[in-house]
Subunit: 192 residues, 4 copies
DNA sequence: GATGAATGAGACTTCATTCAT
DNA sequence: GATGAATGAAGTCTCATTCAT
C-alpha cells in the first residue's frame, strides 16, 4: 500500500530537520542515519549521494510550496485582494503541514550544490508569484516596483517571520498571521 | 599608527567575500590564504582558528551595521517618519560601504559556530531597532505587531532585496531604494 | 542425477567471466549475482564467502588444466617431441573448452586471497610439467636450464599469447598454434 | 639540489612494492602511507588521487623500461643477433635497477584504472620491439609469426622468469641469464 | 531454498591546524 | 614574523555479508 518505503521517509524527515537546523555542509551522513534510525549505508539505497538527497528534498518541498500557493489561488476569488489572501493562506498552510521546510528552502536556495533542475523548480515558484504581481500592477493595485523587489519583500518577510516562529521568538496565532498579512499587503499594494 | 596590520585586513577582506559567496563550511583556510595572498599559517597569527575568524568577522560587521543605523538616527530628525528614513539610509550606507557584508551576516546569523558574544552583538542590533519600533507604537504610528515580527519584516525584506542586487537580479538605483523604503514604511506603519 | 545445482553453475560461470575481466577486487558480489541471474544472498548458500568462491573457482580450473595436460600425455606417444605436442595440445584444448579460464588463472595465481590448497593445486600443475622436463633433460633433449625457468618460459609465453587472442590482438588459427608450438619447442629443447 | 622531494620518492617506492605485491585494488592508501613513513594526507600533496599515483608510477617505469631497451640498441652493434643481445641486456639492466618494477608493470598493464596516456606509453614500448622484430623478419632471421605473438613470447617469458627470481624460485646468475637469452633467441629466430 | 533490503566496517579523500625553517 | 609542507581526524561512500520474509 505504501508507495514510498518507510526508511526513505525516515531519511527524508531526518534530513529536512538537520539541513534546516545546521545547513547542508554541517550535516553529516552519519548524523542523518542516526536520526533516521537507519544504517549509514541504507541512505545510499535510496539516494545516489548527499547532493542527490538534498536536491530531491529541495525540489519536493519547493514543488509542494508552489502547489499550496496555486491551489490557494485556484479557489474562486473575490477580487485581487482576496487572491492575495489565498496566496498568503497557501503559504501558511505549507508551513503548517511541513514544519522546518520553509527554513530549509530559505537557507538552501542559493546553495552551490543545487542542480539546474532544483533551480528551475525554485524559479517556477518565483515566476508564479511574479505573474500574480504583474496582473496586479496592470490593474493599478500593486506598487510599481520591479517584480524581483516585490518577491524579495514578500518572501523575505514571510520566511523571516516564519523562522522566528520556529525558533520560538514569535508564537503562531491567527492574530499574528492576520497582522502580518495586512502588513505585507500594505507593503505590496499601492496606497489609496 | 596603523593599529590593524595589513595582513590581518587582507585576511578579513578575503574571508568576507568567500564566506558570503560560499558559506562558512565550504570555505577552506587555504582558499582564504590564497585570496588574501598570505601563507596558510599566517592566518593563525591573527586568529585563533577558523571559528574565531568567522566570529570576529561577524561581530565587526554587525557592530558596524548597528553604528550605521545609530549614526543615521543620531542626526537631528524631523518626526518619526524621518527617523525611519535615517535608519533606512543607515542600512543603505552600510551595504554601500561594505559590499557583501550584509549577505554574509544574513547567511551566517544562524550558524552553529557563532559564539554567545556574536549572538549578543546581533541581538543588540535587533534590540536597537526594536526600541525604535516601540517608540513608534507608543505614538500610534507603528503597527501593533510583536516587535520581532516587525524586525523580521524589515530585515527579511531588506536583506532579500539586497541579495537580489548583489546577484544582479535587481539594479541599485535611487528610485529602487526610495520605492523599497516607501513599501517597508507602509508595511510597518499604521495606515491612516 | 545432476550433482551440481544449476544456480551454483551459473554463479561459477558468471564469476569466472567477471574475475577474468576485472579481477578479484574489482568484482563485487552483487555484480556476480546479477550476471548469474541470482539473488545476492543465494551465492552464500553455495559458497562460504567471496574468498571461498574464488578459491574453488581457481582450484577447479587449475585442476582441469592439469587434467587436460595429463590426458594429453596419457595417449600413446611417439617420442619425447610428440609428448610435448600432446602437452601443448592439452593446453590448447583447455583454453578452447574454458574460455577466459586461463586469463583468470594467470591474473589470480599470485593473489593474497589464495589458500594453501589453491597454491598446492597450482604447484601440482607446475610439478607435473617439471617432471616431464626433467625426463627430457635426462634424455639430453631439453635445455639445461632450471626447471622453474623452463616452466616460466612455457607458461609465461603461452598465457601471454592466449591473452592476446582473448583480447583480439591475435586471431586463433591452426597456423598460429603450430607456429607458437614450434617456437616454444625451440625455446625449451636443445638445439641439434 | 634534489629536484624530486624526498617524501614523493618514498611514496613512489612504497607504492611500487605494494602494488607489485598485492595489486592496485588490494593496496590501500594508509598502507602506502605507513610504508612510506608519511601521513596519509601527504600522499595527496604529490598525487591527485590513487589512480593518478598508479598511472604516474606505471608511466615512469614503462618509459624507463623502454629507455633501457633503446639505449641498449643504440650501442654499436655487430649484426642482428647482437642487437637482440643488447635488447635483452637492456631488459636485464632495468630489472636490476628497478626491483619489482617489472612485476608491477606485468600485473597492471591491463588495469581498468590506466589512463589513455599510460596505455600509449605501454604501446610505445611494444611498438619499439615490434619494429625490431619486423626488421629481423625482413632479413629472414626472425620467425614468421605475427608480431604480437613474438612480443607475447618475449615479454611473457621474460616477465615470468623475472617474477620467479623476485620470489626466490630462481636465483639470478649470469649463467641463468645467458641460458634464458639463448632460449628466447631460439624461440624467436628461424632455425637454420 | 531463494531473495534482496539493510547494515557497518573500512576505503578514499579533504582540510583545519601545527611547526620546522 | 611569515611560510607552506606535513599531518590525521573526520567526512563521504562502497560493498561483503546477514537475515527476515
Amino acid at each position: 500500500m505504501e508507495s514510498t518505503p518507510t526508511k526513505q521517509k525516515a531519511i527524508f524527515s531526518a534530513s529536512l530537520l538537520l539541513f534546516a537546523e545546521r545547513g547542508f555542509d554541517a550535516t553529516t551522513m552519519p548524523m542523518i542515519a542516526e536520526n533516521a534510525k537507519v544504517g549509514a549505508g541504507t541512505i545510499y539505497r535510496y539516494f545516489k549521494n548527499k547532493e542527490s538527497l538534498v536536491n530531491e528534498l529541495f525540489q519536493q518541498h519547493v514543488n509542494e510550496f508552489l502547489q499550496c500557493i496555486e491551489s490557494g489561488l485556484a479557489n474562486e476569488r473575490d477580487g485581487y485582494r482576496d487572491g492575495f489572501h489565498h496566496i498568503f493562506e497557501g503559504m501558511v498552510t505549507f508551513t503548517k503541514n511541513h514544519p522546518r521546510a520553509l527554513g530549509f528552502i530559505k537557507t538552501h536556495s542559493q546553495g552551490a550544490f543545487l542542480t539546474e533542475e532544483s533551480r528551475l523548480a525554485y524559479q517556477k515558484l518565483v515566476e508564479f508569484v511574479c505573474t500574480f504581481f504583474r496582473e496586479g500592477q496592470k490593474q493599478g493595485i500593486i506598487r510599481n516596483l520591479p517584480e524581483n523587489a516585490l518577491i524579495a519583500i514578500l518572501f523575505g518577510s514571510f520566511m523571516e517571520v516564519y523562522e522566528m516562529i520556529e525558533n520560538d521568538y514569535l508564537s503562531l496565532t491567527d492574530e499574528l498571521l492576520a497582522g502580518v498579512e495586512e502588513s505585507l499587503w500594505a507593503a505590496l499594494s499601492r496606497q489609496s
